[in-house]
């Protein structure tokens, strides 16, 4: 049975009943009310998924689409999305993603009449973005933004690419789009050079495994529909689009799909927009999408992500951990774990643990990470006794196993990320490798350890009553 968002809601209610909070009171997403609530919760370090039953649309009216927010803000929910035990949220989740990411599961095509996303079809003037409860996120954002996944198709080889890209609402059928020079941008560039529009289908809501799959770090040329299927654990069901028919297929089990043409010769001002870095990207001159059709389920839910916060960070980190684990382990077979911590927006910092056998493996692992994902800026490599999911342990290793003049490498003029505010060049950045592993070639101090036997025979509950123990800070 094909995975759908509605099925995940039920799974979430059954397995993590406190994780999905339904808000019955009316809310105005375009007036920052949704992000204000999310910020209040974040200030209290609470990260539930929120389902707003009565959001207002961009006309100020009650929308017929409930609004889903913050779904990806915890690794526990992401583990559940992949059909795992939520308690396996750390290393097992990374390794499971890595295992699935090594395969492809080809999509299947179903007739339009059987596709849930075609229950309601609106074309041309009937398609109206203002019907949706689109969120305005941060103070300097000029408009509500759709922040989910445009799909594009390579004009030469026919593979599909999916990416999270921001879309500024400019009119009922007009969107701005920002692309960094990555895969979708390459597709757009190819079409633009031939003065052709680029077909785009924005997948607004789907089962969360779809989005975890969409963020794979595969090379340009890999069909994302096949890779998404591998992460979902089943063939992704596709169906013909309204605008291009069988020449461009869309996910049949999405809640909502917006179709449109990315124009080759139109640029308009777009942004500032609060980005994943926690800063605003500057106002720029960016391409424009003309919307041609909107299709959706009858009871469709509209989803957004809280960009620049955990919802956006955690979602981006898990696929990178899996993809880079496979890449690095191919070069350093004793690689134990890869983690993208919250402190680096789950993108800029990469922690790698290896069971180092010879000096130099550290550098190999780090260089593989830097080459494999251009988001990675600072790599810290630690020994296998360090839990990379425990940042305190990682920084303890940096404090006690690293000498700045011997174990830090600076690599200048590497392709970076255009949204990193510390970059002084628009494209190039400086990468840093921190080797916080113990040297193999010389004796090194031993880590403290209370004898295992003593730990085994001396039980807390034998000395401290549970009532007292539970009350301890």
């Amino acid at each position: 049975m094909a995975k759908k968002l509605q099925d995940f809601f039920q799974n979430l209610r059954d397995r993590l009943p406190n994780d999905l909070l339904t808000i019955e009171r009316a809310v105005a997403p375009a007036d920052y009310e949704v992000t204000a609530l999310l910020q209040h919760l974040e200030n209290e370090q609470r990260y539930p998924a929120l389902l707003f039953e009565k959001p207002r649309n961009l006309k100020g009216e009650p929308s017929s689409f409930p609004l889903l927010s913050n779904l990806f803000a915890t690794r526990r929910r992401c583990a559940l999305a992949l059909g795992m035990d939520p308690d396996d949220e750390r290393l097992p989740l990374s390794l499971e993603y890595a295992r699935r990411e090594e395969k492809m599961i080809a999509p299947v095509t179903i007739p339009v009449r059987e596709a849930p996303v075609k229950e309601v079809v609106k074309r041309g003037e009937d398609a109206d973005l203002y019907d949706f409860p689109i969120v305005r996120h941060h103070a300097m954002d000029p408009a509500p933004y759709i922040d989910m996944t445009p799909v594009m198709k390579d004009p030469d080889e026919g593979f599909y690419n999916i990416a999270f890209l921001r879309n500024m609402v400019k009119g009922p059928r007009r969107l701005g789009i920002h692309m960094s020079p990555r895969h979708n941008w390459q597709i757009y560039r190819k079409n633009s050079e031939r003065a052709r529009p680029t077909p785009v289908a924005i997948v607004i809501s789907h089962h969360p495994a779809f989005y975890l799959g969409a963020l794979n770090v595969s090379p340009f040329g890999v069909d994302d529909y096949g890779r998404v299927g591998a992460i979902m654990g089943e063939s992704l069901r596709l169906t013909a689009s309204e605008t291009w028919g069988d020449d461009f297929k869309v996910p049949a089990d999405a809640e909502i799909v917006i179709e449109g043409n990315l124009l080759p010769d139109v640029r308009e001002v777009e942004a500032p927009f609060g980005e994943f870095t926690g800063y605003y990207g500057p106002q720029r001159v960016r391409p424009v999408i003309e919307v041609t059709a909107i299709t959706h389920r009858r009871e469709a839910v509209f989803q957004h992500t809280f960009v620049g916060h955990r919802d956006n960070w955690v979602l981006g980190g898990i696929p990178k951990e899996g993809s880079l684990f496979n890449l690095i382990r191919g070069i350093v077979p004793t690689t134990k774990a890869v983690h993208f911590p919250i402190s680096g927006c789950c993108r800029y910092h990469c922690y790698i643990s290896i069971d180092k056998k010879v000096d130099g493996e550290t550098k190999q692992a780090a260089l593989a990470a830097l080459a494999g994902c251009d988001f990675v800026k600072h790599v810290i490599v630690v020994d296998a006794d360090i839990d990379v999911f425990n940042e305190q342990e990682v920084l303890w290793a940096v404090a006690t196993r690293l000498q700045g003049d011997q174990d830090v490498d600076i690599i200048k003029n590497v392709k970076g990320n255009t949204l990193d505010p510390s970059q002084t060049d628009s494209i190039m950045t400086t990468k840093m490798i921190l080797d916080a592993t113990r040297p193999v070639g010389r004796p090194f101090a031993a880590r403290l350890e209370v004898p295992k036997e003593a730990l085994k025979k001396t039980k807390l509950e034998d000395f401290i009553p549970p009532s007292v123990l539970n009350g301890l800070l």
């Binding site: 500032p272 605003y280 106002q283 720029r284």
Partner: protein
């Protein structure tokens, strides 16, 4: 990040920033994110770059 310049909206006095290479001295109207006023960079009462 690319080089940026800060501008002030002549209508609402709100401050925001733009991509220098794409929008400074380009005769392209900027969009104030606070009041939607459109103006040229040279109309800004203050520019920090």
């Amino acid at each position: 990040m690319a080089k940026i310049f800060w501008v002030t909206c002549p209508q609402c006095q709100g401050d925001f920033y733009c991509h220098s290479e794409e929008l400074r001295h380009k005769k392209i109207q900027l969009l104030c994110p606070y009041c939607s006023h459109r103006f040229l960079d040279e109309e800004s009462p203050k520019i920090v770059e």
